[in-house]
């Protein structure tokens, strides 16, 4: 009886521990990654070229309402201020070349003068990205379906204006408390502006945008800030956490 008891105890604990450890490893290291699928942006957009080289500001392209809330990506109308292409002229050139207007690859390969003359980039890689934009969207009259890394649902009110004065150096003092909200690396070399607190780190300097990580369950972005994260930061900074603060 004694031996059987001992054996049963031993036989129960070990599998329990194995099962416990196995799912712990899976749950911490493997499964979280399965929640997301990577999707590339429709075309390569270089923030580095536009921000650093051309000296553009965030609101040169990104739209904000008067209260500082985000209002959307740039439209072709805005892009065409610089990337000016006569769509009708290009379409005529495509027809003259005997190319199917829906065959984007063929149009790009043809390197038509009507398109090439309007490209502003100098390197081949950048030229190709610009060409892709012109062919697939601008001349077609279609808006680029950009993927929003910081997507927040419509029922969340977030004003950039209200958060503009948030000092990232001051926030660094709370980096341990905020470790589950903000990646600590953001505080390593604090930038002048606080954009990195919520946006992809140094996205304004990126040459090729990273893939968008879509949550397969919720459909939201991996970067979508969940409510508890907003609340944690508000609480730490002594800001109100009433429903109406963010849900208008």
């Amino acid at each position: 009886m004694e031996e059987r008891k001992s054996s049963k105890r031993c036989g129960g604990v070990l599998p329990f521990i194995i099962g416990f450890l196995a799912t712990c490893v899976l749950g911490w290291a493997v499964i979280p990654g399965l929640f997301f699928e990577e999707i590339e942006q429709p075309i390569r957009f270089s923030h580095a070229i536009h921000v650093e080289d051309q000296g553009m500001e965030c609101d040169s392209c990104h739209n904000f309402r008067e209260d500082g809330s985000y209002a959307g990506f740039p439209s072709n109308e805005g892009c065409a201020d610089c990337h000016a292409v006569e769509a009708e002229e290009v379409m005529e050139a495509i027809a003259e070349a005997g190319i199917d207007p829906a065959d984007y690859d063929a149009i790009m390969k043809a390197e038509l003068d009507a398109i090439e003359g309007s490209l502003l980039s100098s390197s081949d890689e950048n030229k190709q990205a610009e060409r892709e934009y012109v062919v697939k969207y601008l001349i077609q009259g279609k808006e680029v379906p950009w993927l929003n890394y910081q997507y927040q649902p419509d029922n969340v009110y977030f004003s950039h204006q209200a958060h503009a004065a948030l000092d990232i150096a001051e926030m660094a003092e709370l980096k341990n408390e905020l470790s589950s909200v903000v990646d600590k690396s953001v505080f390593d070399e604090p930038a002048e502006q606080n954009c990195n607190l919520c946006h992809l780190k140094d996205i304004d300097k990126s040459d090729t945008p990273p893939p968008f990580e879509r949550n397969v369950l919720s459909g939201y972005s991996k970067m979508t800030m969940k409510m508890w994260k907003c609340e944690r930061c508000h609480a730490l900074k002594g800001q109100p956490n009433a429903c109406y603060t963010c849900h208008k």
């Binding site: 329990f16 911490w28 739209n63 419509d154 369950l217 919720s218």
Partner: protein, 639 residues
Amino acid sequence: MSVGATVGILFTPTVWTALDDVSIWTQNWPWIPTLKYGEVKGVPTVSKMCESGCAVKVRTVAGEAFGTEGNVDNPISGGGICPLCANGVQVMNSPTRIKAPMLKGAEISWDEAKQLVTEKLAAAGNKVAVISGDQTGTINEVFSALLTSQGSDAFYVMPCEMQAADKAWSGLMGGSGQVGYDLENADVVLLAGADALESWGPTVANMKAFAANESGKFLFAGPVQTRTAAVTSKWVPVPTEGMAAFTLGLCYYVMQAGRSVPAADFEQFKAMVMSGYTPAKVEAATGVSADTMADIARTLLSASNPVVIPSGSVAADAAAFALNLLLGGAMKVLPEFAKAIDGAMSRSEMLKKDILQGVSADLLLVYEANPAYALPEQVKAGFTVAFDCVETETTAAADLVLPTPHSFERFDDLASPYGLAAATYALGAPVSKPTVSVMNAGDFVLGLAALGFETFEDVLDAKVAAIGADKRALVGGAVHVLAETPDLSGVTLASSVLGKAAVPVKGSGAVALAPYTLLNVGTANQATTPNAPCTISNNQLVGDFLVVMMASVTAKKLGVDVGSKVKLSGGSGECSALVQIYEGVLPGVVAAPLGLGHTVGDEFSKGKGDNVYKILTVSSEAATGTSTWAGSTVNIAKI
């Protein structure tokens, strides 16, 4: 192992994160509407929903209109907007939009419509008429040029203050141009029936001028203490039909003080007033005491820049213009802008025909007007073509309905709304693309006859060129102002006519009817708009019942009280209403709001209240040769 695995998984974020994500997933059903994101703009244009029109900015996001606001850059409105135009986008997206040409209820193509109207025009010859609901647009040039090409002069506008003023100024007094009033710079303003801060004239500009004119003294005369009267220094109760006599009573004191006008008939006018409109006679005719008139006259005489603003009949307008000429104050005369189309009528010619005397034609073209609602008895036609963007009583009754683009979907213009102190011209370009099969009425009419233009936009280009304005600046929201001053040398005081026309004439009903307009309730052409009903007070509408107001002494005489359900009979119709007691109504008068009681339209206007236009009495102001609703009376019975 499975127990361990189960416990182990609970020590990871997996389950909790998954539950959180699933809870978010449940918030994202495909039928939940989502916001449109994109650049938010305020695009300047003009709105033609109110009689004067408003210079507005249409708010768009990613190019899609979602709201309307005043244009702060516009010097006339200064960012203000009227209650009708404020809901322009909602009306543009209304389910009552007419979606395609309709012939007796059946959809037809635009080509078929054009062929049909061409045939009807040919058959009608000169028996073709036009009723326009637009007082300020160059579209009227297109319609009037079509009439001219057909040999017809039957151009009608819906009854309006501009028409009464023109008939008085141009018709009786021999003036040219359009009368205006400088409210902002006047030091005394007598509103002789003009509900200027609520519905008369360019309401938004009037309110801006009223707010800016802090030192000015405003007086209101009329049968009802309206909202305008409520914020003026003094309300002088004057019956509508007595307004001309009251004004001539003021002329008496002004001329007694030695004022004169270099008009050919001044002496005749003076003699007429001094004998026929003495304070005692005017008091007997209108109920306004001689002391009150003397006091108002003193106030006007002591002012350096006074102005009297009339409303109502042609006689009342002529009397006020005569008084303004005697006072020499802030009444202005505006020049007319040059025409774009040679064969078109001038504004004064367009205002000549009296729609209250009836319209009869083989072919009637109705442009964004609603005579079937406001003038159901007066308009008869063999074949009616209604141009409008939403369903109305007129489109429901018309043989052929042709959908027009909404104001925000088309090129349109706004020339000198009546009441402004300067000749102004504003232009609007399309902000939104139409989502239904529409055609600008101008384009349609230009396709019927050779009027020298292919499209209405070409006509507007010609108009802009003719007046020397800059189209790009106008489309950007600028206003072109014409500074010329018309010649006043030939103006007379219409003494021979005014002496007879100013005598108060009242109907035979028991109670005088004082109809009034509130823009949030609607106008003759435009029903209330989607967001406006919540601003309509219990003094106009309770539930689906029209509310009429009267003083307690009137109610007592009629044996009714607050909430009594009554029937008002007048003209050739009846209205049912609830009674409200308001001591701001002259005894013996019942005040009733116009604009309710639609039988066609959206959920916000259809079946709400009753149509007061049905009980208005058209009477002939014989001396001026015009018709008027002033002097309407009703009988009231409790039900």
